[in-house]
Amino acid sequence: MYAIETINLTKKFGDFVANDNISITVNKGEITAIVGENGAGKTTLMNMFFGLQRPTSGELIVDGKKVAFNSSLDAINCGLGMVHQHFKLVPSLTVYENIMLGAEITRKKSPLIDKKVEKKEVQKIIEEYKFELHADDVVENISIGAKQRVEILKMLYRNVDILIFDEPTAVLTPQEVDELLISFKELKNQGKTIILITHKLREVMEVSDQVIVIKRGRIIGSKATKDTDAKEIARMMVGREVVMNVNKEYKDSSKNKTAYSVKNISTKNNSGKKVIEDISFEIKEGEILGVAGVEGNGQSELVKVLSGLMVATEGEVYLYDKNITNKWPDELRSSGVGIVPEDRYAQGLCKDMTIYENMIAGYHSDDKVCKNGIMRRNEIEGLSDGLIEKYDIRVAEKNGNVSQLSGGNAQKIIVAREFDSNPNVLIVSQPTRGVDIGSIEFIHNKILELRNENKAILLVSSELTEIMNLSDRIIVMYKGRIAGEVDGKKATSAQLGLLMAGMAAD
């Protein structure tokens, strides 16, 4: 008997088929990895397992029984638990309140919650699974890794036997990833079945017993992990040979002119808390400076300050000799700073506007596109068509809206716009988040091309491999400060991991 079996499971959203006749089996007490690129349909499949979405057709069989879930509660009652990529936690409540949510213990004959007993219960299960957690902490104050442990405990408290993890390592430091993988083995020893959704092959090879590859909503293959290797899986995922490392030649740029310098920048968020403190660095011409760190350690705020979306309370920023501190984004762009923002749909594109309108966003005051206050549509369209060609952006309709594009192609619009404006300095934040492998290769090569044209580049990313592959120098941020600087050529992930966790390397 299998823990989970699906027979021709299909999910359609309108005309779009997200999952097409999926038939898979998951063995009891094993770790099954489901891999595929972004948008391949992994998450849709898991949402059906967890009762968040209903299949259009097909059968789902759990523990030999055919089931139809109406809500995630049904799934939990059937012994299925899910740890989501974006945690479903309530920040203002404590760890134990989050774990007990929906299963509160009340005092006898009263509607009041018995907080003491709840705390004790939670403490007991924290110890049972040897997790590093304090029942009393408020969730908004604990680390990402700890939040994930809360999510896992939330499911374990509900006695689930099958645990689904959706991209669990995306936001963890390398050390936290190792700890999580150890927890997986521990959970497996206790007889739990684990389904791991990921696109990171290292984890797959290290812990899984079985690998299932999904591409464009279909099952491409299913193999025992010991009979395959990372290269083969990558080929199955993408459909062609993948160059897993960027070829990069190191050049000594230390004698070049300094193009961009940041001096003692600090800022506070709206609740008055210092989110970045005393950040200083310089970038030479022809140099890529990588900024690594676990998400939420100030990288996001740093990029916002440097790109004019947030105000620095202290410190200065210079472009060559020109003081550009706290300039607005349009002033920054016209003085030669290109900006690829962190969240492409919130800050980089307007989804409901056309591709050509987005192609000049932020450069509206340029004479090429606007004369006497009137937008020159023909010139804009011509420019846009040229960039679509040059950057190999796959669009169905040239006058269509950005919302029709895939993540990778939408990101390429920003890349085309910012890279082609011939900036002296480029601020690039999370350039390949949620982007397919083909586009990742392309964007990485473009970044390197720009560096070879003697531009200064600041690269902020939560993907450690991206930082290590591209950067000449790497700074690591921890709790809003620079925890350390590492030579890009010699950096190891272990060394960076220690800095990311706030432990200074010896």
């Binding site: 479903k88 203002s92 979306l309 947030m310």
Partner: protein, 305 residues
């Protein structure tokens, strides 16, 4: 009564309906439902309670029926706003305009300028005088001589705090408002919680309206809530939807109203100007509160999540 003691008495008197609306509105606010229909619900309470007292001849039956009718109004708001996911502002506004129109229409139909039930309800008899305390100067006028619903409103401040922070329901309301996905993922039915939150608001608004009209004056006049529902929303916002803090803002607005009435007596020909004091006060308080909140704003143009 001296001027000071009548200011204090009127402060409590005018705070009560505001506090009820604030406490009722809190639940919806915490559950992330923007209920600008508080005004309409309160007006419905005022109108229907007076009407039902007029029709049935009994004060408490009238108030009970009024609560039922206002709950139905709350259900209508919830159905459109929560189930059908229409815009809360438009739905709430619809409720406000609907009640205003309905009450004037029925008054017209009954050929009355207002509903007067003073022959059924003995207003002075409803005031509860607390022995001993009522003799103490100032404190006596603060604590004694109010109606049942007025006392109830102050007791409810504590009850609301307990419900909000120590019961399952309160936790669920806050969770639904803060992270609806988290609630859904453990099987909390967020729609039910939101409905309940709106309905509590409707019931308390009915009491607020009844307090305003029938219990204190035995009289309903057109649009007699005069923006109190919006004042309540302002108080909820200023007090960050915390029961005690928001109630204190409600009392501040009650004080403004009390000052306006008591000081207008000395103002002679310009006494009408004092009518605007409570409303002016809202603008000033809202301005101060948001000025304090955005004092350290470092983010330009968009909201940091």
């Amino acid at each position: 009564m001296s001027l000071l003691s009548s200011i204090l008495y009127d402060m409590v008197y005018h705070s009560a309906p505001l506090i009820l609306a604030v406490l009722g509105g809190l639940f919806a606010h915490k559950a992330n439902v923007l209920n600008i229909g508080l005004e309409g619900m309160m007006l419905m309470g005022a109108f229907s309670s007076t009407l039902f007292v007029f029709l049935t001849g009994s004060l408490w039956v009238g108030i009970l029926l009024s609560v039922l009718v206002t709950l139905i109004l709350g259900l209508i708001f919830s159905f459109f706003g929560i189930t059908m996911k229409s815009n809360f502002i438009i739905t709430g506004f619809g409720i406000n305009i609907f009640v205003l129109a309905l009450s004037s229409f029925i008054l017209k139909y009954m050929q009355m300028a207002n509903i007067n039930v003073s022959s059924i309800v003995d207003v002075t008899g409803l005031k509860i005088n607390i022995p001993v305390i009522k003799e103490i100067p100032l404190l006596g006028s603060l604590l004694s001589g109010h109606t049942v619903i007025t006392y109830l409103s102050f007791i409810l401040i504590a009850v609301t705090s307990i419900v909000m922070y120590s019961t399952k329901f309160g936790v669920y309301v806050r969770v639904v408002g803060e992270n609806e996905e988290a609630a859904k993922s453990v099987g909390i039915n967020s729609t039910t919680v939101k409905y309940a939150a709106v309905l509590i608001g409707a019931a308390l608004c009915a009491f607020a309206g009844a307090n305003l009209a029938v219990e204190r004056m035995a009289l309903f006049t057109n649009n007699m809530t005069a923006g109190r529902g919006f004042i309540a929303i302002a108080a909820i916002y200023c007090g960050q939807a915390r029961p005690l803090k928001s109630s204190i803002y409600a009392i501040i607005f009650g004080l403004a109203k009390s000052l306006a009435i008591n000081l207008a007596l000395f103002a002679g020909p310009i006494s009408g100007l004092f009518e605007m004091v409570p409303y002016l006060m809202i603008v000033i308080v809202l301005f101060i509160v948001s000025a304090v909140e955005t004092r350290h704003n470092t983010i330009r143009g968009f909201k940091l999540e």
